[in-house]
């Protein structure tokens, strides 16, 4: 039942992704990234029994779904880190433009 709910949720996100692609809201590389992301999530959900065994064999006391949750949090934190770095770079680029305009307008 839990797996079925998770599959429905992933299916809903996938449908949103295809709809946004159709609308032109996401570019090709962004579409491919999220498509792979959700398909991977779907594959992991459908392999929970096999993953439970794998997690147990690796010596973890928790279930596969818990391990997936920990991994998801780690991935999210990494994405936040990447976004922060990207924002910092954008800030720098804006400063370069502002500086260039200030100097050339005066010259």
């Amino acid at each position: 039942m839990q797996s079925l709910i998770a599959v429905i949720i992933v299916a809903w996100f996938l449908s949103r992704l295809f709809w946004q692609k159709k609308k032109g809201s996401v570019n090709k590389s962004e579409f491919v990234f999220w498509l792979i992301f959700w398909l991977l999530a779907l594959a992991l959900i459908l392999s929970l029994k096999w993953l439970d065994q794998l997690v147990a064999d690796l010596g973890f006391s928790s279930s596969a779904i818990q391990v997936l949750l920990y991994l998801a949090v780690a991935v999210l934190i990494y994405f936040i880190f990447r976004i922060r770095l990207r924002l910092a770079k954008m800030e720098k680029d804006i400063s370069k433009i502002v500086e260039h305009l200030a100097i050339t307008k005066r010259d």
Binding site: K89, S95, V98, A102, I103, K105, R106
Partner: protein, 219 residues
């Protein structure tokens, strides 16, 4: 020897004319970088005789200083002086600041509030500045008495080696770090600050540290 003062200004209409008026007779040129002020800073600075460069968006003191410094050296300045727009610095400190550069004894000269006894606010004197000194010493190996001082002067050659990336207040630490790493000849001279308000708070210091770390990771 052509000396230009760079004055970053953001909403400094109350003091900018006086600051420009004091600097103008002592230096070859005064350039005010108006960092997208909402008040009359730019107009008043121009009326007082400064060259005014305008940022379309507010980018922070470090960015304004970089804009003004680049422009000044494009105008063949030999030395650039960074001077605050809030009227807290005294032009009486300029001769001592410039002397080592004119004599070729230093590449970059920093003002220090700690080499002369003055009325530094207690929180700043006993907590914020010692903390800043410790961080600079531990992280970067820099031993200067006043790492967050905005009064400095340097040559064109020095500028090519210390072009800072920090847009905000962290530019002070970055300039120090770059000057230290590039083995520039550093000198500190005493200066006086007239406090109208208490300047940076502890939260400001934490933001500077955060900016330095993010900038380091982003390189």
């Amino acid at each position: 020897m052509k000396i230009i003062a760079v004055v970053p200004a953001w909403n400094e209409a109350q003091t900018i004319a006086q600051v420009v008026g004091q600097l103008k007779p002592l230096l070859d040129e005064v350039v005010v970088v108006d960092d997208a002020s909402a008040d009359d800073t730019a107009r008043l600075a121009a009326a007082a005789g400064a060259v005014v460069l305008r940022h379309l968006l507010n980018r922070g003191q470090g960015a304004a200083l970089r804009t003004g410094t680049r422009w000044a050296f494009n105008q063949d300045a030999d030395i650039v002086v960074h001077f605050d727009a809030d009227g807290q610095f005294s032009v009486d400190d300029l001769p001592a600041l410039l002397a080592p550069l004119k004599a070729g004894q230093a590449d970059i000269v920093f003002g220090s509030r700690f080499l002369r006894d003055n009325s530094l606010p207690p929180l700043k004197r006993h907590l914020i500045m010692p903390l800043a000194r410790l961080i600079n010493r531990w992280l970067f190996g820099i031993r200067l008495t006043d790492p967050q001082n905005g009064l400095r002067a340097f040559t064109h050659e020095a500028f090519t080696k210390i072009i800072w990336q920090e847009d905000g207040m962290a530019h002070c630490s970055e300039i120090l770090l770059l000057a230290h790493r590039r083995s520039l000849r550093l000198k500190e001279v005493p200066m006086t600050v007239i406090y109208h308000h208490y300047g940076q708070k502890l939260s400001g210091g934490i933001k500077i540290l955060k900016d330095l770390v993010v900038n380091k990771l982003n390189r």
